[in-house]
Amino acid sequence: MTAITADAAPRPTAGRGWRGYGRLVRTETRVWLRDFGSVFFGILFPSVILLGVGFGIPGMREPITDAPADSIWYGVTPIATYLPTVLSMAIGTLAVLSLPVTFATFRDKGVLRRLSTTPMRPQALIVAHLTINVATTLVGVALALVVAQLAFGLVAPTQLGVVLLAFVLGMLAMFSVGMLLSALVSKPSTANAVGSLIYFPMLFLAGLWTPGPIMPDVVRQIGQFTPMGATAQAMDTGWFGDGFPLLQVVVMVVWTAVLLPLAGRLFRWS
């Protein structure tokens, strides 16, 4: 070893490891949107479900009058009570179904390992795809709200702050579930299978088949402890009721606090 080495190392710079991040997000977004499944399930699915249920099932647009007059559901249309469930589903679809498949594919193809040979940190790819999926969730939810307003007319939430809090915490909780899957699963097919095994029971417990007013009590009791069920129930309370959904908020915080650090710790890079 001789003197040639003295001036060799490129000096670390402030942004080392994140150069080209903007381009990474733009390219990954473009590539991601080329997949029909991402666009359909991420953006259109919640609106499609709302329209299908609203117009396909008789009576969904008639105000509920057979509930007790002091119930939070009295006088609300069933399709309006369906909205919190559909919005929770919108989060879960991307977080639990889409995100883990993306990372399993990266792992399977060696993309993460390939990236780790470049100056870009592989963590950037995680941040990029979280950004993409969160942004897509927001677009899908916004579209669902616009569609619901145009087709059925929205009910103004009684406590907008609670609805927003439930939405944000629900995103955190469900994306934590998704990140834990993303951290571990090595094959896209496994990600799909495991994601579905979690997603569909969560949908049931969040009331996709039995929304708010007609939810059996046992489903509600169990559902409130799941990330998606807690989100939907907390949103129900914020949208139609009064009081604070403390249990559901705690449930969402706990899921996040446990799963997200675990995902970070267990993330497999190859």
């Binding site: 080495t5 080329r34 990266f106």
Partner: protein, 339 residues
């Protein structure tokens, strides 16, 4: 000559009880194509992945341009371009997008347009990765290893799964790349590839360097023996065998003469064995159909140093993370590069 640009000393890497790299040392000079040759599972990939700072060594030192890549892997990422075995891209990213994306990661990237030309990818710039042929994927993979304007490019099993034509085209590209001044570290289990491309190489077997030098030097250093194979017309075979056996018995330059197949005789001896065989045939007016000297290759070197016939796939792969991976080139793209 300046000091080595890559220096590996007594590298050791184990995965649990399995020793992937036992003791590997070599030094690469700037501007050369340096080969790491050996059967699958010999520890080649582990060696270069450790060199690139992707794995933590259990012993030894690894320096790239003087930088200890075990201590500071990030410091070499700008100057070391790596083409990983079995690393692929998203099926839907286009060639141009991938090059642009990777170029953005480096402080002083190469011009992606020039790389498209260098690697004959210009006409495929808008094609998605999943729709490329095996040869095109490999060329993009090389382009991505070069897009950071590296001083050293590591190319791991570059031509595995390619058909012979695409393989030769890829070899030409590697020489074109070297002509641009990039030092190339070529990992391969193809003897022919190493022999054709490498200025110098190490042969690795079971995690150890078993031979090091230039391909020709290694072959020449085998021993001084030579073999000449003579083929006779069917009518002359009996006379020919007798003549050459007799020659082996009385000429000091000739050691053995053994029948080989129906019409051939293999004659071994010293470097001058050919000079003994041809005059003897001429004196007996025995005109052979064919005379050839047996060309020795790196496979003979491998046989000489390990005592085993070279079988590239004889051992399972030592890298734990590739054991479940899909082959870089799947069956559907195997027909190679038809562009």
């Amino acid at each position: 000559m300046a000091g080595p640009i890559v220096e590996v000393r007594n590298l050791r890497k184990t995965y649990g009880p399995k020793v992937a790299v036992d003791d590997v040392s070599f030094a690469v000079q700037p501007g050369e194509i340096f080969g790491i040759l050996g059967p699958n599972g010999a520890g080649k990939t582990t060696t270069v992945e450790t060199l690139a700072g992707l794995r933590q060594a259990d012993g030894g030192t690894v320096r790239v341009r003087g930088i200890d890549t075990q201590r500071d892997p990030a410091a070499v990422k700008d100057i070391l371009g790596v083409q990983l075995q079995e690393a692929m891209l998203h099926d839907k990213i286009t060639v141009g997008e991938a090059l642009g994306l990777f170029a953005g990661f480096y402080s002083d990237p190469a011009d992606p347009g020039e790389l498209l030309d260098l690697l004959d990818l210009r006409e495929h710039a808008d094609r998605q990765f999943g729709k490329l042929s095996g040869g095109q994927k490999q060329r993009l993979s090389i382009a991505l290893a070069l897009v950071g304007n590296p001083e050293i490019a590591v190319l791991d099993e570059l031509t595995t799964g390619l058909d012979p034509q695409a393989r030769r085209a890829t070899w030409d590209l590697v020489e074109r790349v070297r002509a641009t001044g990039v030092t190339i570290l070529l990992v391969t289990h193809f003897m022919e590839e190493a022999e054709r491309l490498c200025d110098r190489l190490v042969v690795i077997d079971a995690g150890r360097v078993v031979a090091a030098g230039t391909p020709q030097g290694l072959i020449d250093g085998l021993d001084d023996g030579r073999t000449v194979v003579v083929r006779f017309a069917p009518d002359d075979v009996a006379r020919g065998r007798e003549l050459l056996a007799d020659l082996a018995a009385r000429d000091a330059e000739v050691a053995t003469a053994e029948a080989q197949g129906a019409t051939e005789v293999a004659v071994t001896g010293t470097r001058r064995v050919l000079f003994a065989v041809v005059p003897a045939l001429a004196a007996a007016d025995l005109v052979p159909d064919d005379v050839r000297t047996v060309t020795r290759s790196l496979e003979d070197v491998f046989l000489a140093v390990t005592g085993r016939t070279y079988q590239p796939d004889a051992q399972p792969d030592a890298q734990p993370d590739t054991s479940t991976g899909t082959p870089l080139v799947s069956a559907t793209t195997r027909e190679g590069d038809r562009s």
